[in-house]
Amino acid sequence: MNYIMSFLFCGFVCAVAQLIYEYTKLTPGHITCSFVVVGAFLDLFHFYDQLIKIFHAGAMLPITSFGHSLMHGAMHMTKEYGVFGLAMGMFDLTAAGISSAILFAFFVAVIFKSRS
């Protein structure tokens, strides 16, 4: 069941992005950026947490979740440190994704050679 829910939600987000890509002249960069903003916006009312509860990995994987995690981390820290918490907690939850992406990108670039 979890698999199906995960499949459906992740597929749905991708299909929406694909429709935007087909009908506008936006590049993938534009689309991913706007999806991150949408993700952060959905966290404004804790809506994205509900989505993760229902769809598990399906809601964690799309780039919208990135905006949500940034926002979530920031909001968590504001409880302790006030407004400075926004900057202090920003990367708390996304640190894993970003650091691993940088690390693996670097090592892959060192080991492999680009081929086309």
Binding site: Y21, K25, P28, R115, S116
Partner: protein, 334 residues
């Protein structure tokens, strides 16, 4: 002897093609015209450390083939004309050191070969030069890196896109009689029809091709039926259909019209709309058409090499794409 100048066009009496050297990438070799090329490479690096070095090697091989076929040494060439797609024409100038002769770098994107042929022809016709080489090179990977995205970036290509051809081409021109001559050339004007889509070059370039076509016919006071074949450079399948419509709407008469980008690859090769790049028109006109002309299939061929003079910076600044088209005519010597 001197060339006749008519508005935008020049007519030549004593410019002959001495020999031709072509090198092609694997995809071009596997295409329908593969057997016409002198040399091909199995991958994008062919033993070099980077794509840029591979591109330089393709140019060097093309010039070497050209010199070998004419049985001359590189000291016998008086002047070189050439260009490629890279910033600062790196592929050409980094090779020019080994040529030890004047090298004039030219840039008009995918119309570079026609411009180089034109300049070389003018030199030969007007300045007592014994031999000039016009050359061009392009590499899919270097062009992709410079104009679009990193090579491994997983992006879906729009279906109007063209595919930069990989290969090199060198043509040696002399004032001494040979079977094929350069009869005339027309320098194009820059045309900008306010097209903004950098993924849709055929659509941006078709008006430039049409403009140069009309100018050429007007200057030489002929119509399209004078030529056995009219070829556009790299409009690709979509641009070709636009060009056909433009010709039809203005009631231009011609025998056969085709496009180099559409000829270079077969439909099942997954190259979107067809080939592009400076070497695309060069490979087709001097690989395929030149050899067919030697065999007698065509007598007179007009090549309209089109170029989109875009830069990624200006595209990001939301400016439209200026395009140019230079034409030259190949004729069998009577």
């Amino acid at each position: 002897m001197s060339s006749h100048f008519l508005s935008n066009s020049f007519v030549f009496d004593h410019v002959y093609v001495e020999s031709v050297g072509t090198t092609a990438g694997l995809l071009e070799y596997q295409g329908p015209l593969g057997s016409y090329f002198d040399k091909y490479y199995l991958d994008h690096y062919h033993g070099n450390d980077s794509y840029e070095l591979a591109e330089i090697e393709m140019l060097s091989d093309a010039i070497f083939c050209c010199l070998n076929k004419a049985k001359i040494k590189k000291e016998d060439v008086d002047i070189y004309f050439g260009g490629d797609l890279n910033n600062q024409l790196t592929a050409c100038y980094y090779h020019a050191f080994y040529l030890k002769k004047p090298f004039i770098g030219l840039y008009s994107a995918c119309a570079t070969m026609a411009l180089a042929i034109g300049q070389a022809s003018l030199m030969i016709e007007n300045h007592n030069i014994e031999r000039a080489i016009a050359c061009t090179v392009s590499h899919n990977a270097t062009a992709e890196r410079q104009f679009r995205y990193p090579l491994e970036y997983g992006i879906q290509r729009k279906n109007t896109m063209t595919f930069t051809a990989t290969g090199g081409c060198a043509v040696s021109l002399t004032p001494h009689r040979s079977p094929i001559k350069i009869a005339s050339m027309t320098l194009g004007r820059v045309v900008d029809m306010n097209q903004y889509d950098a993924n849709d070059m055929g659509r941006a370039m078709a008006p430039a091709a049409y403009d140069t076509y009309k100018q050429h016919m007007k200057d030489l006071n002929i119509d399209g039926r004078y030529y056995d074949l009219i070829l556009t450079g790299d409009l690709s399948n979509y641009g070709k259909s636009i060009m056909e419509r433009l010709l039809k709407d203005s009631q231009q008469k011609y025998k056969v019209y085709d496009d180099c980008g559409a000829l270079l690859y077969s439909q099942d090769q997954n190259v979107y709309q067809g080939g592009s790049g400076p070497v695309c028109s060069a490979l087709v006109s001097f690989g395929y058409i030149y050899q067919e002309m030697l065999k007698g299939k065509y007598q007179k061929v007009l090549i309209l090499a089109t170029g989109a003079l875009l830069s990624p910076v200006m595209t990001n600044q939301k400016l439209s794409i200026p395009c140019v088209c230079h034409a030259f005519a190949l004729e069998v010597t009577q």
